[in-house]
Every structure is written in structure tokens, then in C-alpha cells.
Symmetry: C2
């Protein structure tokens, strides 16, 4: 594995990749593991993120034609030479059924952000007029399916949430499947693991965030219950919902206005609808 | 295959399964194919739908303990005797990776509804006070992924849309994967294939529906563009969006208020957010 540090200082300012300062404890630790990202959106977004090392890059002949220019712009000079790969090569390298679209990149997980850094890192203003952007952080309580976590990252990016937090245990690690579902958003929204969820919620409250848990049995709808201001949206695992301690740690519980008999939404769908309500309605 | 007709006349009125009258041409046709449904929500909802034939029912020992009473209530007397199945039996019977939760049911696709029947079948009133429910039909333009179609059915049920329509060609057929993603909603929301999408939109307009297409490049947001009243929400395939003819057939184009650089949502996520805006905001 290459020991080359990721290149810094080429970060595009406004709509570019965001990542809070690296936690020094982690930086000083052992060489992190490798993972393969695949698919056009995840790989092109990863190449455009200067914090993302590129150890190998596989391109099909077709992908080289379609995306070669974008690759050269994203990594001028310092990319490992792209390897032209056959369908068989992709099949040998990637998990079964991976929809790679002719692009795959061997990389390492991003350095994890500490909660204090995320809280200190207020997002930029919303528009040219400088209207402040509402601070919104998503907190996942035992949401372990990588497709769901990836889809939540994608919606977080689309509606403007700044981070997705999950406990170190019972969370989906960065993976090709997660990055594919995130469709590039893994490079733009901070995804961080925290030691203890209840403690994390206390820290968020201390920083001025309301902790609002989504629960199907809550009395008020999200629109009715939203207090305004900085908010942590807390989502539980599909089926089981929020754990008791997480529920008790929330300031507010709210539900989405769904109807019987199919009233429970998939957690990533619920996240998208809630983010829309909180950030765009 | 059994020629037994599905039992009728046990349909619970308010929150029960809905399915418009059967098209006689199809009814008189050949015996339709079989398919396996699997997973707790899809199988229990299918058992509770009297229009759904049950040819075989596999239960794990654990599922028999947990769901035996619900099965007996849903199909008193006339169910094929549930077969106790081992994990190996499920693996031999179902597609690789099927998350069956110990339940699988061999059935047939539901008889397809004709558009005229759907249009004639106004949904019930919204609440005890009798407030009318907004009529909303989802139209899919070449959305072929069964997980996406299933997830859209689930959101349609949760927010109260009455039907999902798709062209006969380039649509996902009823399948175990689609039903699993729909989490029971396939039994509650009409899913019908139509011959020609542009013609279907004309028929919807003639019946008093606005045809509103979701398009990322539209000028107005959905909230700004919603004209009120009966509405057909038209969604295109992820990536390609609406086809030109479909786009031209819409009365209105609108976008969701997402932000760069990850502004495109997965089609099932976009559907959920749009249904929330149109039916619940």
C-alpha cells in the first residue's frame, strides 16, 4: 500500500468536498484498511475529493472514453495510471453484483471527524444574499444497512444537512455498497462514528441543537413539532425504532403524517421526507 | 396449478385491501404465471388480501410460532396447509439473498386493473369528518428497477396515493423483490400497466387530473407549481429522466428544491418527498 499522503490545497471552495479537520489520534494510528469504490458517481466524486487517496483506478475502455477528461482534471499528474479493465477483471475485483459502470477505485476510508470539529465547523451561507443555512445533523441509532446509510447521506447532501453520525458499534462502515447508494455524497457530507449515542446527544444539546427523534407513535407531526433552529434529527432502525435510552435523550418526538395500514416508511425514505420538511418546506 | 378462484366477499371495508374491478379480457385469458412472495410484511398482507390466491405457504418453525394466529385469521379453512420449512428449503425455493424472515407464499400476479376502472373508483373519504381525499395517481416512465417500484408503492400507500401506473413495456412486473420493497403495499395500492403512456396521460387529463412531471431542470419547485386538485405525478427513470414525449404530454413541470452538487435524488426517494408535499404538507 502506498504511504503517499493525500494531496491538499486543491480544494475547490464553494460546492466542493467538505471534511472537518482530521482527528490526530486516528491520523497517528496504523495504516487504515483499503476499500474499493465503484460506479460513476462515487468514483468521480472520490477523485474530486483531495482528501481521498487513490491507490488504483480501473476503467473500462468505454468509461475511459466517457470519463477520461474528468479523471485527468480531478487528479492531474498524481493519479496512479488508470488500468484498462475487462468485465472479467471487474468481476474478480469487486463484490458479486456490484454495478460498477466501468469505474472502480481502490482507496482508504476517510479520516473520521470528531464531534467537536463538526460542531465548530458551521456550514457556509445558503445563498448569494448570505442568508444563514439552518444547521442540521442526522443521528442514526443502529441503522446498519449500508444501502440505507448511503441513501441517507445522499438525501443529506441534496437537502443540505451537514453530517450523519452513528455509534461506532452497530453502524455501517464506509464500503463500496454504501458509497454507491450515496451516489457521491460520501465525499460531501461528513459521516462520523461516535462512541456513545446518548453522550453525543448531550453534546449536541450543549451546542444549541434540539434533539428531535422520529417515532411512529409520537403525538405531533414533524411539521407541528419542529422548534426551528439548529436540530439533530434522530432516526432508529426500521422495525425496532429508537432504543429506549435514545428516545429518552431526545428533547422532542415527532412522526411523519403517514396513514394505515402501511404507515411505517423505510428509514432512508423517512429521512428524506424529514429532511425536506426541516430544510426545504 | 390450482384453478381455484380467489375467495371474494371477505374484504374488510375501511383500511383493507383495495383492488379495482378485474378487466374481463384478462380474466378470460390463460392461467397467469406463478410467483413467490417472501418476507413477513408482504406475505401477511397477501394472505389478508382475498384477491390473492395462496397456492403454497412455507413457514419456518419460528415464523409459525410468531405468525400462526395471523395466518389462521387471514385464511380460515381454505389455506393450503402451511408447510414447515428449513433454511435449506427456503434457499432452494427463493432467489439468492431473499430476506424471507421465515415466510414464503406461492401465488399469482393480481388481475390488472384498467385505467377506466381506476378513474371510476374514487378513493374513500380522508377522515371521520368526511373531508374528501385528494386524488393522486403516480405514473412511471421507464422505471424498471423492482426495488424502486416497490418502494414507490410503499410511499404511495403511506401518503395515500391511489394507484401507480407504468407502461406495459419497460416496467417491472410483480415479483418477490418488488413486493418485498413494497412491504405489503402491493396489496393496497393498485399497480397497473398501461399500453401507451402518452395516451394514458391524455385519458387522465380528460378525467380532470393535472399531469405534473418531476424534472430537475424545471423552473418552479413542486410547492410553487402544485395547482391543487386531482393530480398525476409523472416520474422518469433515474439518470435519463422523462422521455421527450412524456415531458411534452405533461401540463406542468416542477422540481424538488435540492442543492448542488448532489441534486438528483433516487427516483423512489423523489417520489416519497413529492407525495409528502402533495398529500401531507
Amino acid at each position: 500500500m502506498s504511504k503517499r499522503k493525500p494531496p491538499h490545497g486543491r480544494r475547490p471552495a464553494p460546492a466542493g468536498p467538505r471534511r472537518p479537520p482530521v482527528k490526530s489520534a486516528r491520523r497517528g494510528g496504523g495504516e487504515p484498511g483499503s476499500l474499493w469504490l465503484y460506479g460513476a458517481h462515487p468514483v468521480l466524486a472520490a477523485l474530486a475529493n483531495p482528501a481521498r487517496p487513490c491507490r488504483r483506478l480501473l476503467l473500462s475502455a468505454e468509461a475511459a472514453r466517457r470519463h477520461g477528461a474528468a479523471v485527468a482534471v480531478a487528479r492531474p499528474g498524481d493519479t496512479p495510471v488508470p488500468e484498462t479493465a475487462t468485465p472479467q477483471k471487474f468481476a474478480e475485483t469487486l463484490p458479486d453484483g456490484a454495478v460498477h459502470q466501468g469505474l472502480a477505485m481502490l482507496t482508504a476510508p476517510l479520516a473520521e471527524a470528531a464531534l467537536a470539529d463538526i460542531l465548530a465547523n458551521a456550514p457556509g451561507s445558503e445563498n448569494a444574499a448570505g442568508a444563514p443555512r439552518r444547521r442540521l445533523i442526522v443521528v442514526l441509532d443502529q441503522v446498519t444497512d449500508p444501502h440505507n446509510v448511503g441513501a441517507i447521506l445522499r438525501s443529506a447532501a441534496a437537502f443540505g444537512a451537514e453530517a450523519v453520525l452513528a455509534p461506532s458499534r452497530h453502524a455501517a462502515p464506509e464500503s463500496g455498497a454504501l458509497a454507491k447508494a450515496a451516489s457521491g455524497a460520501l465525499e460531501h457530507v461528513t459521516y462520523a462514528r461516535v462512541g456513545n449515542l446518548a453522550r453525543c446527544l448531550e453534546d449536541l444539546k450543549a451546542a444549541g441543537f434540539w434533539c428531535l427523534g422520529l417515532a411512529g407513535d409520537a403525538e405531533k407531526t414533524l411539521a407541528e413539532a419542529d422548534p426551528g433552529g439548529p436540530l439533530a434529527l434522530v432516526l432508529g432502525a426500521e422495525g425496532d425504532g429508537l432504543r429506549r435510552l435514545t428516545r429518552e435523550s431526545c428533547d422532542i418526538l415527532a412522526r411523519l403524517p403517514t396513514r394505515e395500514p402501511i404507515s411505517a416508511l423505510n428509514v432512508s425514505t423517512a429521512a428524506a421526507v424529514a429532511l425536506y420538511q426541516l430544510l426545504a418546506v
